[in-house]
Symmetry: C2
Subunit: 520 residues, 2 copies
């Protein structure tokens, strides 16, 4: 191998090098050997000790007991709270100390399986497991050629395909971008269909109206069967709290729809510090826990045992301009605390992601995304939305950013695997063979391990300066541009039973025919 | 303030916004309130348990006892080892189990002060403290306008000035870049002079020949006085091990020169996995510890109690092309293990940094740098070289990369500060004042905290898309380009006693006159 290395380093093997790179970029995941989700072999990072954690938990109890949470425009939610013994005053609901913790711990699963239509892609959410899912919700997309523009259904399908092709995303996500060329009241049908048709990974449904949540679940029933959906989690909904301390009726109705069907809701306080919460991180963390616990408690009242994910979206603000900021250190510290609190509560956690305020897939985007993602992983987050593609505070889904994030997620798989300490890893034979002053390139241990020793980046460049110059001096985002185009050209859909496909289309057509287009 | 925020967000206050940004970029550190070094308020990350750590320590002992370390071309080093009871066979030195640990722990300071000529900038190296220092050793520089070129003395001085101006680097570094326009045997004099003249932070001296090490220390004696240098650490030398398991005589002679003068040497195994060590991380970590311990042991034989830093440079390799890779997850995991091992040994640690193989300050550069720097910090590294400027595997010092790294280091200051949990941070009054559904922008708590609540980035953009568009759609590296030019234009040197300045120049002139120029 040493000879081979030398030959290639001298650039005599340019053709082979290019072929290998092309293969890595094109590479679909069949045969990658990558797991369907991460099982962390590294410990979580324990930021706070017992005293700090108790102090925050105590503060959560105070907020819930004294300030309370409003449930607006949802009499059914208020009825459930009243029945459960909470203090309901108008739409304001207050909770005795410890009530929500007890309610949540009495029936919320600590971990659960979200089943994919390909059983090999089912994911475990909770415990020592981490699931990476694409970014969610942007009205715009951006790529190097066409710039920034409104997202379309074509873009949506492209991202579903790209997420399907990579081994580093475990989940197909939900509203990866908003297909604004489809009517607002109908696009959820096309989005759920695209997840099912163009991928075989687990996916998310709509929450923007209770009937859209119901449609999403009905489509899942066609794929998995009614009995199966009654028994197993096959779809997730992601609802935002109208922070501070308010749930609006649309969100709780969607939550109740998912819970009634025994499907999972991710309950996400959305706190831009200084606007929807205090500017100090500890207060925002406590608020976030109080809000999420109220939502998860409601799920358990609707259907005890229904799966739920404690969500958290913490961000900061430029207090000079009022603009939100993303990927900053204060929220990252917040994630680590939330991770500890979620573990103590015993519920799966969603937080963080690869988020940024940057407009382009440039140095800022990558640095902020990395500084968010590693603390997210170390916090023990179980479901990491916004793992790939996010730009501009979530307004934009970036094609090049998506590909760069995928490569980064691959690296995080390695990081999460920790340090192997078996005899092969200690390499005593190699030291005996090589000895001081010689090189390890051709030794037996290197020969036996070199193919799997290190992560092989798809996009990160390690060529010599001269090779890179010959290749056109391309920036990372320029390499990423070629990569997504190549992947889409190579895309092959997973098999889908034609009878199921027809039934899905029938359902969608009937539902679409029943409504006039709504555009807002 | 809410009014102010709204006004600015609407972009009506563009002049004031630009003035604030200009001030942030120009801003020298006077009055920044930033500390002279970091005192971590976050815990270190404990990757391994007792069993894993013992296994590696045991392996270190085996390597030292069975394989041993070669000390080439330095009879004095061999004499010292023989006298200390090591088994010397030719140039190979072997150590009984536990011998080096005992030798090191008997006299190596767990932490020490490196004094700066401005006492307010003296740094503590060791314990819960972290010192950020610029990148080191690149023959090339790069900026957006002039591209990649050989470094000159002008570049060297520029980086000393930029490092002086920022609050986020605590140290002036050493060979920030190689001033190749000065003779090889004389440039150390100009470099050390530049550190003293254009900065008042702590700095490093030459190690490329024992007489250059001696010159560096003699220059420090002119600044600090002979007595002071005999007593206090005022200069660092950074030597590389010729891995695997070899010290060359130039390095050990430099090490002995610094130790004799009671000055600190950073002892750095330089291991590209697969070349200078095994491809498996655990083996490379053990090798790195064995090598560094041999060097620190030698320091303690030369002068018991002389300060030392256990260094570590672990990298990976593209095993397809043989090219070294930087910023990959395998070395990052290695740092975390080395951090634990260094703490158990009780010596200050240098590892990691903001390193990358990328050619430009692009997304790859930022992602790899961030993925290296955070684990470096979490590993508890005490002296972090290569904190700013590093590109292309250390071949290039990048002007824009340097500025982007500075902003990132500022964020790491906030991260290292952890989570504050006092009453103000919990913000109970704010929740009482605001209540559910309202915003925190104008509340008393926000007003009292907004100026200091969040890190204020120098370069990270959080403008609206429209503002950013009006501003020319600049990438992060393009913003960084303007920033370093502005800083250099605004540079003001720190005061230096003219008598000392003259004495330094006299010494340098005499030394230069005594030698013919050598260019290799």
């Amino acid at each position: 191998m040493a000879d081979e290395l030398r030959r290639t380093r001298r650039g005599r093997d340019n053709g082979a090098r290019k072929a290998r790179r092309a293969q890595r970029i094109a590479g679909d995941e069949s045969g990658s050997g990558a797991p369907a989700y991460i099982t962390r072999r590294i410990p979580t990072y324990e930021l706070l000790g017992e005293e700090g954690l108790s102090r925050i938990e105590d503060h959560v109890d105070i907020l819930l007991d004294e300030i309370g949470v409003e449930f607006r425009d949802d009499p059914e939610a208020l009825r459930l709270w009243r029945k459960a013994g909470a203090r309901v005053d108008g739409v304001r609901v207050r909770f005795e100390r410890g009530m929500l913790r007890e309610l949540i711990q009495s029936s919320t699963p600590e971990s659960f399986v979200q089943h994919a239509r390909n059983p090999e892609r089912s994911v475990v959410i909770g415990g020592a497991h981490t699931v990476f899912s694409p970014a969610y919700g942007s009205p715009f997309v951006r790529d190097l050629e066409q710039g920034r523009r409104y997202a379309s259904m074509q873009d949506f399908e492209n991202f579903v395909k790209l997420a399907y092709q990579t081994p580093w995303l475990h989940h197909s996500g939900g509203t990866i971008c908003e297909p604004v060329d489809i009517a607002v009241n109908k696009r959820h049908l096309d989005m759920v269909y695209a997840h099912i048709r163009y991928s075989d990974k687990a996916f998310m449904g709509s929450v923007t109206a209770p009937e859209r949540a119901a449609d999403s679940i009905d489509l899942a029933r066609i794929v998995f069967g009614e009995d199966r959906v009654e028994r197993d989690c096959v779809i997730l909904g992601n609802i935002n709290v109208n922070s501070p301390l308010v749930y609006d009726g649309t969100m709780t109705a969607a939550l109740r729809t998912y819970a009634t069907a025994n499907q999972c809701t991710v309950v996400v306080p959305f706190i831009l510090g200084g606007a929807m919460g205090p500017v100090t991180v500890a207060g925002a963390v406590a608020q976030s826990m109080a809000e999420a616990m109220a939502g998860i408690g409601l799920i358990q009242l609707v259907r005890p045992g229904a799966p739920a994910i404690l969500g958290n979206f913490l961000s900061s603000m430029s207090l000079l301009s009022g603009a939100p900021t993303f990927g900053m250190p204060e929220p990252a510290i917040g994630y680590l605390a939330v991770g500890q609190l979620a573990r103590r509560l015993g519920v799966p956690l969603r937080c963080g992601g690869a988020i940024t305020a940057a407009k382009l897939a440039d140095a800022q985007a990558a640095q902020e995304s990395a500084d968010s993602l590693m603390p997210t992983l170390l916090a023990g987050a179980n479901f990491i939305m916004h793992s790939a593609g996010w730009l501009e505070g979530g307004l934009v889904m970036g094609y090049e950013k998506f590909m760069l994030d995928l490569d980064h997620l691959g690296m995080m798989h390695v990081f999460a695997n920790g340090l192997t300490l078996d005899d092969n890893a200690m390499a005593l034979d190699a030291f005996r063979e090589v000895g001081p002053g010689h090189h390890f390139l051709g030794c037996g241990h290197t020969m036996a391990n070199y193919e799997t020793a290190y992560y092989r980046p798809m996009l990160a460049d390690s060529e010599s300066f001269e090779q890179w110059q010959e290749g056109g001096e391309r920036r990372a985002d320029q390499r990423a541009h070629k990569a997504w185009q190549q992947r889409l050209a190579d895309y092959q859909p997973p098999p889908l039973d034609p009878a199921i496909d027809d039934a899905l289309k029938d359902f969608i057509n009937r539902r679409k025919d029943s409504m006039a287009d709504a555009w807002y």
